[in-house]
């Protein structure tokens, strides 16, 4: 079986045999891949526990950011079945907006490091508001009109918006990498090349944001409306739910999370690039798929997992190094698509006729 799968010129027979042997073989291959991954983790850990641990911490930190972006993908996908390709670029705009605000404000007021925290919070709020406004705007002018069109149309529109956002980013940021002075001057111990207080900021902001999200979706009326529209749009409309407003609200939430992730990310790395959004978005989307697209908890779990895997592959002993990041992540994505397309926490759906 493995042989049949790995020899590409004869995939027809491979598929036929797969059907006959059923999911048993498939499950075994899946378990074998997982076991290989586990063996690698143990091998790496035993080589240098300290380095491994540092990579793990950085990975969790990165993972929470992926989770924030992945939530935006998964909510939009859950409600209108659109892969919002522009979402990663929205995150990129978030990084640029927040840094412009932060640096200008800091320059004007000559604030110290504790004032820096306040400014960072201000930058984050402005970035969240602008990103969510932009996301709602795109929904309003484009996706709303394409809701009844074949799926290809909104997807291509999203790609178009991705280019437009990148162009705006290029206009604002220049075509190269831009470095910003974000050092809050606190110093402190370092873990995996990042200062500890940066990690604490990220953790201290993301966890409440995620809790707030889950509160909005599960406890409020608007959240209930979101879930209803995601389950059955026409049914929700008949029940008196304002479908357009609910979808706009979803886009606003997703945009705000992307903006927040932008601020947090740039406060760590302090550089912005106009073309970093695409890669980041792809990784976050992979996280959303890994957790089970449409599932909010899944997005967080997937984001953390992807972040940890990425940083382990980057920084752990026996890792492949940063230059193979995307390859590792996409290999995971493709393997997942083959073995468990519904993701870790998702439910398998059958197609409606």
């Amino acid at each position: 079986m493995t042989q049949a799968v790995s020899s590409p010129p004869a995939p027809l027979t491979a598929i036929r045999r797969k059907v006959r042997l059923g999911p048993v073989v498939e499950r075994w291959i899946g378990w074998a891949i997982l076991a290989l991954g586990g063996a690698w983790v143990i091998w790496s850990f035993s080589a240098s526990p300290k380095q491994f641990f540092e990579a793990l911490v950085v990975g969790v930190n990165q993972g929470t950011l992926y989770a924030l972006i992945a939530l935006g993908y998964t909510m939009v996908y859950g409600i209108i079945e659109l892969i919002n390709f522009a979402h990663g670029d929205l995150f990129m705009l978030g990084t640029i907006i927040s840094m412009s605000v932060f640096v200008n404000f800091m320059d004007q007021h000559k604030l110290g490091s504790w004032g820096g925290f306040g400014t960072l919070a201000l930058a984050m709020i402005i970035s969240m508001v602008l990103c969510s406004a932009l996301n709602v705007f795109t929904e309003f002018i484009a996706y709303r009109r394409l809701r009844n069109a074949p799926k290809l149309a909104p997807l291509i529109t999203a790609v178009g918006f991705s280019f437009i956002f990148q162009d705006i980013g290029q206009f604002a940021n220049g075509s190269g990498q831009k470095n910003w002075p974000v050092d809050l001057g606190l110093g402190g111990p370092k873990i995996g090349g990042l200062e500890l207080y940066h990690l604490l900021i990220v953790g201290g902001v993301t966890v409440p944001l995620l809790l707030l999200m889950s509160f909005i979706v599960t406890r409020t009326k608007q959240g209930k409306a979101m879930r209803a529209v995601a389950a059955d749009r026409d049914g929700a409309r008949l029940m008196g739910i304002n479908v357009n407003r609910t979808i706009s609200f979803t886009f606003a939430l997703g945009g705000a999370l992307a903006g927040a992730a932008g601020t947090l990310f740039v406060s760590e790395v302090s550089t912005t690039r106009y073309d970093q959004g695409l890669t980041f978005g792809l990784i976050a989307f992979t996280a959303a798929v890994l957790g089970g697209i449409g599932n909010l908890v899944g997005a967080v779990v997937g984001g953390l997992l992807i972040g940890v895997i990425e940083q382990l592959s980057n920084g752990a002993p026996h890792g492949l190094g940063q230059q193979w990041n995307l390859t590792v992540i996409f290999t995971i994505l493709i393997t997942l698509m083959v073995f468990k397309p519904e993701g870790i926490l998702g439910t398998r759906t059958t197609e409606k006729v």
């Binding site: 799968v5 590409p8 010129p9 995939p11 027809l12 491979a14 598929i15 996908y77 079945e81 659109l82 892969i83 484009a142 009109r145 394409l146 809701r147 009844n148 069109a149 074949p150 799926k151 290809l152 149309a153 909104p154 997807l155 291509i156 529109t157 790609v159 178009g160 918006f161 991705s162 280019f163 437009i164 990148q166 162009d167 705006i168 290029q170 206009f171 075509s175 026409d234 409309r237 008949l238 695409l278 890669t279 792809l282 989307f285 992979t286 798929v289 230059q323 193979w324 995307l326 390859t327 996409f330 290999t331 994505l333 493709i334 698509m337 083959v338 397309p341 197609e351 409606k352 006729v353």
Partner: protein, 437 residues
């Protein structure tokens, strides 16, 4: 290859008995196409140097032959993507992967030595000016080899995506595209230098003309300035791709693809083998991509480097297909010509002209913001003319039709019902008569 080309010839008299108009239709485009390419060749080779200076100057400024050659390569790519996206309806966002694979096959098989890990010397009908060291295979065989390698790559990419639909498919293909690019950038795979990293492979062999080289006036190998002859070579490749695209569309496989595109479930119920049809769509698309990759590497740039293979190229090719009219070969051809011209010459030249008229110096800005412009074009196209400039009748109906679940809920929203009625009326004028009577 010649065998493929000559097969339809005996069929034409048979068809002529059935319907003479159709046989004319079969012959009209090859004759027209050959005439257009021949005219372009003669025009740039013989007429352009004799024209008045200001006219000739404007032509070389606005429509240089290099931009036509580049457009030819883009046409090959767009036709290949059209098979995957336009015919079979499988959204492929990593199409640039095949371009890269084709380019690297050319790099491996027709270059002076570049790889310290594997220093081989091998010659097979190499052009007369080839470096004695290194692997040198004639362009024509490399075309075939790249086609075969890309078909294999297409099957590898296609196989895991068979169960996926729409959006997931787009994502996985995109992932493959990025992986290929990352391999190309990193260069070393398991310690072996595969692609030479960022530097890429340079000074590829020129195209050898073989027996034609003996004829007076035709160079034995096409150097950097033999653009007119390159146009003929590229024209032949585009002709082959057009021929394959048009013939395959009418055949059993083509109709199976259209069935899948329009309703996968219904098609499989009717006995279309989804696995076979989807894999062959990937294979044919990849084959075209390989041809395009070799043609681009050998005749346009003479080098392969990973910077040429990023995501935006996939999107540019997709834009050509969408802009021209998905599924319609002539629309795709038009889209590729227009966008490739804008990409290579148009925007730049427009910037120069703008500066001349208004005394500004923003020439670079037009080029810098071209992807923003393409994004706006994509969005506007999707909003106002989803089916492209020259749509196929069938695609037009498809793209205008509301999705099934919405159509079911027509009572809930009157505008959707109206759209559906419009589609029915456009598709078949007799339906409306039947309804009114």
């Amino acid at each position: 290859m010649t065998a493929v080309l000559t097969t339809p010839a005996p069929q034409t008299p048979k068809k002529a008995k059935q319907a003479s108009s159709r046989s004319w239709g079969d012959l009209a485009w090859p004759i027209g196409y050959v005439l257009v390419v021949a005219f372009l060749f003669v025009f740039y080779k013989n007429l352009l140097p004799d024209l008045q200076d200001n006219i000739a100057g404007n032509i070389t400024k606005w429509l240089p032959i290099t931009s036509i050659n580049e457009a030819m390569v883009w046409i090959v790519m767009a036709l290949g993507l059209n098979v995957v996206v336009g015919y079979a309806g499988l959204l492929d966002l990593g199409y640039v992967a095949f371009w890269a694979v084709g380019g690297y096959v050319a790099g491996w098989l027709m270059s002076p030595p570049w790889n310290p890990d594997a220093n081989l010397t091998f010659h097979l009908w190499s052009p007369s000016n080839a470096n004695p060291q290194g692997i040198h295979v004639t362009f024509w065989l490399v075309l075939v080899a790249a086609g075969v390698v890309c078909v294999v790559a297409g099957l590898i990419i296609g196989a895991p995506t068979l169960r996926l639909r729409g959006d997931y498919l787009a994502l996985v293909t995109l992932g493959f595209g990025e992986m290929v690019r990352q391999v190309a950038i990193n260069g070393r795979v398991f310690g072996f230098n595969l692609t030479n990293g960022d530097a890429g492979i340079s000074s590829l062999d020129s195209i050898g003309t073989g027996p034609f080289g003996q004829i007076q006036g035709i160079p034995t190998h096409l150097g950097a300035f033999d653009n007119e002859f390159k146009l003929l070579v590229l024209g032949a490749i585009v002709g082959l791709c057009l021929f394959i695209s048009l013939r395959i569309r009418r055949g059993r496989l083509g109709r199976a693809w259209l069935a899948i595109r329009e309703d996968e479930l219904a098609a499989s119920m009717m006995g279309v083998s989804l696995v076979k049809a989807k894999l062959s769509a990937y294979a044919v698309g990849a084959f075209f991509g390989g041809l395009g990759g070799v043609a681009y590497a050998a005749s346009i740039t003479g080098a392969v480097s990973p910077s040429k293979f990023d995501f935006s190229i996939s999107i540019l090719v997709l834009l050509m297909v969408v802009l021209g009219g998905m599924g319609n070969v002539w629309g795709v051809l038009l889209g590729a010509l227009v966008l490739s011209w804008v990409n290579s010459t148009g925007l730049n030249q427009f910037g120069v002209q703008w500066d001349e008229w208004f005394g500004t110096s923003i020439q670079g800005d037009f080029k810098a913001h071209q992807f923003g412009l393409f994004g706006i074009v994509l969005v506007l196209m999707m909003l106002f003319r989803r089916e492209g400039i020259l749509p196929e009748r069938r695609t037009r109906a498809l793209m205008r039709e509301p999705s099934r679940s919405e159509a079911e809920a027509m009572g809930a929203d009157i505008t959707e019902a109206e759209i559906a009625d419009e589609v029915v009326a456009e598709e078949d004028p007799t339906t409306e008569k039947g309804l009114s009577s």
